[in-house]
Symmetry: C2
Amino acid sequence: MIALDAHGADRGAATVLAGARLSGVPVRVFGPAAELEVPEPEGAVELVDCPIAVGSDEEPARAVRARPEASIVRAAVAVGEGHAEALVSAGPTGAALAASLFHVKRLRGVHRPAIAALVPVPGRPTLLLDAGANAEVRPEHLVQFAYMGAAFMEAVHGVARPRVGLLSIGAEAGRGTPGVVAAHERLAAGQLDFVGNLEGHDLTGGVADVVVTDGFTGNVALKTMEGTARTVVAAIRAAVRSGAVSTVGGLLIRKPLVALRRELDPNAVGGAILLGLRSVVVIAHGGSSDEGIAAAIRLARRAVDERMVERTAAALDAGDALRSVPAGSVAGRHD
Amino acid sequence: MIALDAHGADRGAATVLAGARLSGVPVRVFGPAAELEVPEPEGAVELVDCPIAVGSDEEPARAVRARPEASIVRAAVAVGEGHAEALVSAGPTGAALAASLFHVKRLRGVHRPAIAALVPVPGRPTLLLDAGANAEVRPEHLVQFAYMGAAFMEAVHGVARPRVGLLSIGAEAGRGTPGVVAAHERLAAGQLDFVGNLEGHDLTGGVADVVVTDGFTGNVALKTMEGTARTVVAAIRAAVRSGAVSTVGGLLIRKPLVALRRELDPNAVGGAILLGLRSVVVIAHGGSSDEGIAAAIRLARRAVDERMVERTAAALDAGDALRSVPAGSVAGRHD
């Protein structure tokens, strides 16, 4: 059973409910019954009436604390209390993050959960984290992100031994902020298949399965990729339309362009995933269609079935990346 | 007269020299005479024999201090002593930055020079800074970058009143790191046409003429744009080639794709510019062709002719953004 928050999606609660039906997965929807028509019998989808929401203009932690009846809070509580296995929301990211921290809770020994997102470009998938949960990080956070991201790619995408890179502004080990340099040292001495520093152009180059960075840089990089891809596709369409051979050329290019747009479409991916929590939490794109919501639900289901959380905890432990292990403890190292 | 460092370019000193000839601008080239053929009379281009270089694998500040005979140092000294008006290099960025700091020197009251680069996407040009000179910055640095970038766009690109944005991870004033939030406050209270926080997708959206960020995020964002544009263009070419109508479609699309590739080509822009120094310094793309070098030289010439440095100093002064003005001094504010 997946707990689904129906509030806060750009296309409204009805689209979220439609996505739940489309997914084919058992889902409990927390949303405004008055706005939704649930035919009886509904099969795999049940609705819990929950008219109260947390808005995107509110300070998330405060709103989540103040409003226990809000849909995102009730959905997170359902997961925290074991009535549902995973949480999915297309509402404000901050609210989902705050509700998850309070009610789903962090894995023991995890400093900070991170938002992990697949890079929206064609080809082999690359996971980028943190994509915005933590604007500032310490080296030990980056190290945990690396283990968490690798465990996700192994569990959910079947990548046998994920190659992990650290985003920086030069390939050499000494390049970047002091925090990045310190994280590089620890990752180079650790258990992962660490490929070293990567630069911005490597995000789309397929040279790593996991790219680790702070939430400020990761968020900017992800949105920069989305914007650039959109701009380039639009420029090609405009160029094709403008030429002398344009009409025929435009017709011939239409199909590949549509296919590419689908590959770049965040709806296809399903959403970002919060790593470092005691259960699976998926944050669907705010602008998700019903298909986008369905993909997010299936992603959550798959992460549960593949025991992502348990494997993440085991990977952090095996890599000595948990908070309870004193930093620099030689005795605790597996090397 | 422009001082040109001929060492360190990916395609060798001969390409740099060819670019100097191509530019049509008087240039003094500091490079290895043994590798170069300079026919007599050479006209606008003169060669100073300078066989010693600073490599990209060296610690820049140390190498620049230790090797006064290196080409980048001699070229920077020529500018600092007034024998040349601007410096152009396609060698390692760190070496050009260090040599400029030591010998061209900062403008009085400037905390840190910044690397400013035009975003490589079609449409109206957007300047991004810092693109990598300062991995970590304080709010007052970001404020200076804003004034410096606006002055450049006004002087060199003729933008009457540049719109300036601050890169962050949310549009609201309170989003981002504490440093970004503090810079936002100062810019909102300042003299510029400040459009507030921008996000990654805005870099290609044409919503600002200048986008300000720290050198870590800016470097990652710029390289992410380059990589994404390249990947998307390649995906479209592959898609066109693969279909049933592929051959005809491929022929028809070839011209617009080539045109787009030219627009995305760093060689067309000429290079990044160092702002906050007492003279113009242009850092050409390391992989520049002779045309790329020529464009970089013309960019430097134009920045000198348009009195970019003087206008930058005046803009920083008018905006009370210089270091000599105590922060928070109410008496000094022009409001």
